[in-house]
């Protein structure tokens, strides 16, 4: 899950739109129901704005934090072909962050504020990047399967209602599909290569499976709030639906390579068409999201260091009198 809309299920059911103008709200909901996009200058409920900022911002943070585990392998990539491809891929991810921060800025929060919230730990990013990429094969598994998960998440969100986010996602998905090809090609080379290469990719796959199962988040609690988010087309599919789609598309491809996955229960129920799996360890998921993962501290420390080291550059180009202007679209 790159970005997540979330409303506390215990919050009072009618609190979401309590002080909104009912006529404007009805018009807004009718536009969404008719498939129209909401643009930055349009009227929108406060909760809609808040949820979108939260979701797009988390997505943007995931892109720049995600550049770190893979970025480590740019300087180690074996051979020109892989080195150039990985550089281009990670560069794309940073470019996605740039696009997404701009999309979130149209809702009234500046990039500076968002990055401050990231480095102070106030705002989250995809949990999966709190795990280390221990070997070159880990970077291959990330490029294939984390990007595959991201594509499922993002093509789903690209059907949403907020114009600037949808347009950014369409462009992002186009690039992600190249990353997936790169990652797949890389994994295939390792899986069909020397004994050592095969061992590397098998081990990496076992390491990354639990975080991949966590990727889409725990099953959604059905509440009045999640129904509102669905109606507003902020949330487009349940976490479980996306996880099923991921398993359906990629487990057969992994098994085709004669690689194994660390879940003895994993199989498709041919009658229901649903995948059966061991329930992921959601306690671990919560623990890692709340800061106690193997790399949380390191990721934020690197980001903080980059922000601090670059401050003089940003100050010098902004000048004394610069003030924040919200972009149009």
């Amino acid at each position: 899950m790159y970005g997540n809309a979330y409303i506390d299920p215990d919050k009072a059911p009618n609190s979401l739109v309590a002080d909104e103008d009912p006529v404007k709200l009805a018009e807004f909901e009718a536009r969404i129901a008719a498939g129209e996009k909401i643009e930055p200058q349009d009227w929108m409920p406060k909760e809609y704005r808040k949820q979108l900022i939260r979701m797009i911002e988390q997505h943007a943070h995931s892109e720049i934090i995600g550049a770190l585990p893979e970025g480590t392998w740019i300087t180690r990539a074996p051979g020109f072909r892989r080195k150039l491809a990985l550089m281009a891929k990670v560069q794309d991810e940073v470019g996605h962050a740039q696009l997404l921060y701009s999309a979130a800025e149209t809702l009234g929060k500046s990039r500076e504020q968002m990055i401050n919230d990231l480095i102070t730990g106030k705002s989250k990013y995809s949990n999966i990047f709190n795990y280390p990429a221990e070997t070159w094969a880990d970077s291959a598994v990330i490029a294939w399967l984390v990007d595959a998960g991201a594509i499922i998440n993002q093509t789903t969100n690209a059907r949403g209602s907020y114009g600037p986010y949808v347009r950014a996602l369409e462009r992002i998905c186009y690039e992600e599909s190249f990353h997936l090809k790169y990652g797949h090609d890389n994994v295939v080379h390792l899986a069909t290569g020397t004994k050592k290469q095969r061992e590397m990719v098998q081990a990496a796959l076992h390491r990354w499976w639990p975080p991949l199962m966590h990727f889409f988040g725990p099953a959604d609690k059905i509440s009045v709030h999640s129904e509102v988010l669905m109606k507003w087309k902020v949330k487009m599919a349940s976490n479980d639906e996306m996880r099923q789609q991921f398993l359906d598309m990629y487990v057969p491809k992994i098994w085709d390579l004669e690689l194994t996955l660390p879940d003895p229960e994993l199989r498709k129920d041919e009658e229901t068409g649903r995948w059966i799996y061991t329930e992921p360890d959601w306690e671990e998921f919560k623990r890692v999201i709340n800061g106690d993962g193997p790399c949380n501290a390191e990721r934020l420390a690197v980001r903080r260091m980059a922000e601090e080291k670059g401050r003089w550059v940003r100050r010098a180009i902004l000048g004394e009198k610069a003030k924040y202007v919200k972009p149009f679209a």
């Binding site: 074996p78 051979g79 020109f80 003089w312 550059v313």
Partner: protein, 257 residues
């Protein structure tokens, strides 16, 4: 290449090695900014330039391969530091953005002049590469120039940082133009007009720009070019860089990665 005698080939190889090694190493260094730049736009810019440089180096190693050297991956990923011909300037860690930016400015203007000169080389395969990549390098110098101007004329802190970085980097940059033993051969064969001509033209292009932005080029009496790189003598920074770069490749150099 039938007009080449053995001397010409040796001279061309020497030239190609130092150019390709410079580009590979500075490209590698620039790629280290990925995820760490002072602003996202600069992350992206440094990554683009790094990709260009590494792509250009691969192309030059390909020419070396045509002249009988091993293939590009093998040449780039299996040599030790003392077999590299890059100048010291490109080996230094990225440091702060001020150093990386001034290095990029000084290196890329030299590169731009070198490729302009080589566009008319009698070594037609190299001339073709030079003509092809001149367009890419134009954007690198444009980027460097824009940022050096902005920061050299920005805040008090950025001005003083630019000046300090220039002072620290100048002698390293002069090391780009270390002459090799084939200067005369390259000239008489019409392959390359030589490092001395390159250095003069480089100074004609960078000094007026730096002065325009209010930066002081170190006094000529203090100039002490840092040489050695072209002969395989390097800073202590190169071998760790190479060990990291080749870490995966070295697991099995015969494997298909």
């Amino acid at each position: 290449m039938d007009f080449f005698n053995e001397d010409h080939i040796a001279a061309a190889k020497d030239l190609l090695y130092k150019m390709a090694d410079d580009q590979l190493i500075i490209g590698h260094r620039n790629s280290e900014w990925t995820g760490l730049g002072p602003l996202l736009e600069e992350d992206i810019a440094f990554s683009s330039m790094a990709q260009d440089k590494i792509g250009q180096s691969e192309h030059l190693y390909e020419l070396l391969h045509q002249l009988g050297e091993s293939d590009p991956d093998n040449v780039a990923f299996t040599r030790n530091a003392d077999q590299f011909h890059c100048c010291h300037l490109v080996e230094w860690p990225i440091g702060e953005y001020d150093f990386s930016l001034i290095r990029h400015f000084l290196f890329d203007f030299a590169e731009a002049v070198r490729f302009d000169m080589l566009a008319n080389s009698s070594y037609e395969d190299l001339a073709k590469i030079a003509r092809k990549y001149r367009g890419e390098i134009k954007y690198h110098t444009m980027h460097a120039n824009t940022w050096v101007q902005q920061l050299a004329t920005g805040s008090d802190e950025s001005k003083s940082r630019m000046q300090n970085a220039l002072n620290e980097t100048w002698n390293l940059a002069l090391g780009i133009f270390e002459e090799g033993k084939y200067e005369d051969t390259l000239k008489t064969a019409g392959i390359f007009e030589g490092e001395a001509v390159l250095k003069r033209r480089w100074m004609d292009s960078v000094i007026p720009l730096l002065e325009k932005y209010g930066l002081n080029v170190p006094d000529e009496s203090t100039w002490a070019p840092v040489y050695g790189g072209r002969q395989g003598f390097h800073t202590g920074h190169l071998q760790p860089l190479l060990s990291e770069m080749t870490e995966v490749y070295a697991i099995d150099p015969t494997a298909d990665w």
